[in-house]
Symmetry: C2
DNA sequence: TGAATGTATGAACATTCTTTCATATATTTA
DNA sequence: TAAATATATGAAAGAATGTTCATACATTCA
């Protein structure tokens, strides 16, 4: 319709296949949340069920402060939710999407790692 | 078996459920690669088939230099491969894992976005 | 009420990322 | 060979990120 060769890509279509800016930025944000070993540890820990901040810190070998800062970020992005009981705060993994991203990546990485 | 209450989590098991450090760091790296709008655009553009650097830059609205730097990173992590023909460089999306991460996240984000 | 405990947060600092600018390298064309 | 074209890259600057330290806040216990 537009070009003489069939091997060269249709640049207009390539351009149209790219999602809208706010979608792309949102995607980048999601990946950014997961681009930190500490937060990955927190999230995999929470995949066993709700945990107190102190226990998260213990299980993931991080300082209480660092964990708290991470949880704040995860809360802001609705990845986890808090339930406060007395002076304790129980965090729950809320976002199933994020969880599937972690699982998918874990299997891929573990697989790759196994073949090298 | 070990505790009186059934509601409290087994912290040892929580700890064991966290993947080994080098795996977690590898996962974080993968997510880090995708945590940038420019690279997400490049990768979705490449999902249509191989493209020259110049066309990638055009389709994704980025400078040639910026695209080249990004491609260097993607190359280093075996996400894309180059094929040079003359003075042109054709880049191909090589990593299907990364592609599925992008697809999964796109559908999730687009969905979320639709409900808000 | 005062001390202890659990969590949250602000500021500061170090580190890592991203982009731009200038320029290098390689290849083709005139 | 010189000019033009396509891509790559190093350095620099600015932005964003993660950690620590000190401290605040809230709740429970003595």
């Amino acid at each position: 319709m537009s070009d003489s060769t069939t091997t060269s890509p249709d640049l207009t279509q390539v351009h149209n296949s790219i999602p809208e800016p706010h979608i792309v930025e949102h995607m980048a944000q999601v990946f950014g949340i997961l681009a930190d070993p500490g937060r990955i540890r927190i999230l995999t820990a929470l995949s066993n069920g709700p945990l107190k901040v102190r226990d998260i810190a213990g299980a993931t070998h991080q300082s209480q402060s660092s964990v708290s800062h991470s949880l704040r970020l995860l809360r802001a992005h609705h990845v986890v939710t808090v339930t406060r009981i007395g002076r304790e705060a129980f965090y729950t993994l809320e976002d199933r999407h994020v969880q599937s991203l972690l699982e998918l990546t874990l299997t891929h990485v573990a697989h790759e790692d196994h073949n090298h």
